[in-house]
């Protein structure tokens, strides 16, 4: 096993162990989106009649959106524990150790992704009750969608959290920046008849593309999807997004705070 894998696995395992040791965190992160889904589903169900989707209930429409929300929030909130790690001193110990810097980033990011994945997979149990049946191929594509989304957003969380002094600053960024991105992704309502300007926002919004690769496997097998230009575009955008955030995170970690030239 290379040094990189060893460090990554060890640090990711730590994230996961910490997560399971805090049962309220497990319950909270699973229950919150679930309630969101049930309440909004019950409330909007009657009035949800978008053109071209007459036989889709709101519960079903919103279902992949809630999965996306779970991946998004769980992975981002797990990776902001980097702020705690720094305050508690654990991070200093890791930084002083002879480990590849990318391993530090990957350990946190993959740990966060796996935490988010477990929660989302529990939620996948609801699919058959909505009349959604996943073939093996679709399931694999769905999993891939989850993992890529998780990596992309954990890495974004890592990047945002690295320079921050407190978790409360992070929550502010979350509410004014990430929440709107999620709402404008099509997760909550279809963006079919929105103004052109908003359409542009949607295209530039990585969360929209993440939603596409999570929603598509419920409605198509690998053969159709891998030939669908929209699916492939979204897949490419999500991969590029994840790679960019990982790369930038590594550069951030690599950089040591430097004194300025003597006066």
């Amino acid at each position: 096993m290379s040094a990189m894998t060893r460090v990554t696995v060890s640090l990711a395992k730590r994230e996961f162990t910490r997560f399971i040791r805090q049962p309220q965190r497990v319950v909270g992160t699973v229950a919150q989106p679930l309630l969101f889904w049930l309440f909004l589903g019950a409330g909007f169900g009657g009035s949800f009649r978008p053109a071209g989707m007459e036989n889709v209930t709101y519960l079903e429409y919103f279902y992949p959106g809630v999965m996306l929300m779970m991946m998004l929030f769980a992975s981002i909130f797990s990776s902001i524990t980097i702020i705690e790690d720094r305050d508690a001193g654990f991070l200093q110990g890791v930084l002083a150790a002879p480990v590849p810097r990318l391993g530090i980033v990957l350990g946190k990011v993959l740990g966060s992704t796996s935490i988010a994945l477990v929660q989302t997979l529990i939620f996948t149990i609801a699919a058959p009750f909505l009349g959604l049946h996943l073939g093996l191929g679709s399931l694999v594509l769905l999993l891939m969608g989850f993992v890529l989304t998780g990596i992309g957003f954990s890495a974004l969380g890592f990047l945002l959290a690295w320079g921050m002094k407190s978790t409360s600053a992070f929550h502010a960024v979350m509410m004014v920046f990430l929440m709107p991105l999620w709402m404008l992704s099509g997760a909550l309502f279809p963006l079919g008849n929105v103004p052109a300007a908003m359409k542009l926002v949607m295209l530039a919004n990585p969360v929209s593309h993440a939603l596409i690769i999570i929603r598509a496997p419920f409605y198509g097998g690998p053969v159709t999807l891998l030939a669908d230009p929209q699916y492939l575009t979204s897949l490419a955008v999500t991969i590029a997004w994840a790679a960019t955030c990982l790369g930038l995170s590594m550069i951030r970690v690599e950089k040591r705070e430097k004194g300025v030239a003597a006066v």
Partner: protein
């Protein structure tokens, strides 16, 4: 083993504050297998120096070599021979002792039989043997520090850096920690640099460095440092400290200094102190609350060295300004 040359570190200023020099042209060497203590008042630049030494910050200028490697260009090499004990505990409180050791071993590439051997060896001197599965959060402060030191020693570092490791420990735990540290340092021949402002910790080390405002004021063996202020000193506590000091200066021609609520007469030779004490008592009896002859300790050296450059009345102000 540790070689610091002309190190300067300036923190960038902001719109409202000017850039601040934390370390200024500091050079210092710790020889192979030596135990050195770095001390100084708050804000003296100790912590900045420590952050640079363990590779978390880059200085404005100057070089540092650890074990022959350049810390700034060969950081990865230095990290393999370096062990660091931080002031804030670098163990994960939610994990057990064993899990913490395991992660540390993974970071340093220790595994299999080698890991078990080193772990048992590193735990040998601790009181942790039957607490391996306990979460660190449930351990006492002293035991948590033991986990920290055991973890760092497991990787067999050639150079060990410690930042105020005994902060928050009760006197017994502190003594135990230091005894273990000294014993292990000797048996393993480690080079140790430890920051501390508790001078009881410095008496049995090889060298003591004293910093103030980013400048190295003194760096020598404890014995040589103590010799700087003579072998004895007379310490007077008076009703009016400043008043008595002034009178001693003008009426007896003595070079006294006011340190806190004490008037001190340092640099007296052996045998001179007692007659001096009697003379002061004769003349100023009603003024004096207590008077004694003291063997200077390292804390006296520290006070002497860090306050020498400024007039006594400016000291209090000055310390407040540099305090962080």
């Amino acid at each position: 083993m540790i070689r610091i040359d002309h190190l300067t570190h300036v923190y960038p200023g902001s719109r409202k504050t000017a850039p601040r020099t934390a370390i200024s042209d500091l050079s210092l060497q710790v020889g192979d297998g030596e135990f050195a203590i770095l001390s100084g008042p708050n804000g003296s630049g100790k912590s900045t120096l420590f952050r640079i030494l363990c590779g978390l910050a880059l200085p404005s200028s100057g070089t540092v070599h650890i074990g022959g490697f350049d810390l700034f260009t060969q950081a990865a090499k230095v990290r393999t021979i370096l062990g660091v004990v931080f002031q804030s505990p670098a163990v994960d409180k939610h994990l057990s002792v064993a899990e913490n050791l395991r992660i540390h071993a993974d970071l340093y590439g220790l595994r299999g039989a080698e890991f078990s051997r080193r772990r048992d060896e590193a735990l040998g001197w601790t009181d942790l043997a039957d607490r391996l599965d306990q979460q660190v959060a449930t351990l006492s402060g002293g035991l948590a520090r033991q986990v920290e030191l055991a973890k760092v020693l497991m990787t067999d570092p050639k150079v060990l850096l410690l930042d105020e490791p005994t902060t928050g420990l009760d006197p017994v735990s502190r003594r135990n920690f230091l005894d273990a540290l000294h014993r292990l340092q000797k048996s393993r021949g480690m080079t140790v640099l430890m920051t501390s402002h508790v001078f009881a910790e410095a008496d049995d080390v090889d060298r003591v460095a004293i910093m103030r405002e980013g400048v190295l004021l003194a760096y020598d063996t404890p014995a040589a440092l103590k010799a700087m202020i003579g072998t004895e000193m007379v310490v007077v506590q008076a009703k009016d400290t400043e008043g008595l000091a002034a009178r001693l200066r003008s009426e007896m021609g003595l070079a006294v200094r006011c340190i806190g609520d004490e008037v001190r007469l340092e640099e007296t030779e052996n045998g001179e102190s007692l007659p001096l004490l009697e003379k002061i008592l004769d003349r100023y009896r009603p003024e004096v609350l207590s008077i004694s002859i003291k063997q200077p300790g390292l804390d006296d050296v520290f006070v002497h060295v860090t306050s020498r450059a400024v007039p006594d009345h400016a000291l209090a102000l000055d310390l407040r300004r540099t305090g962080s």
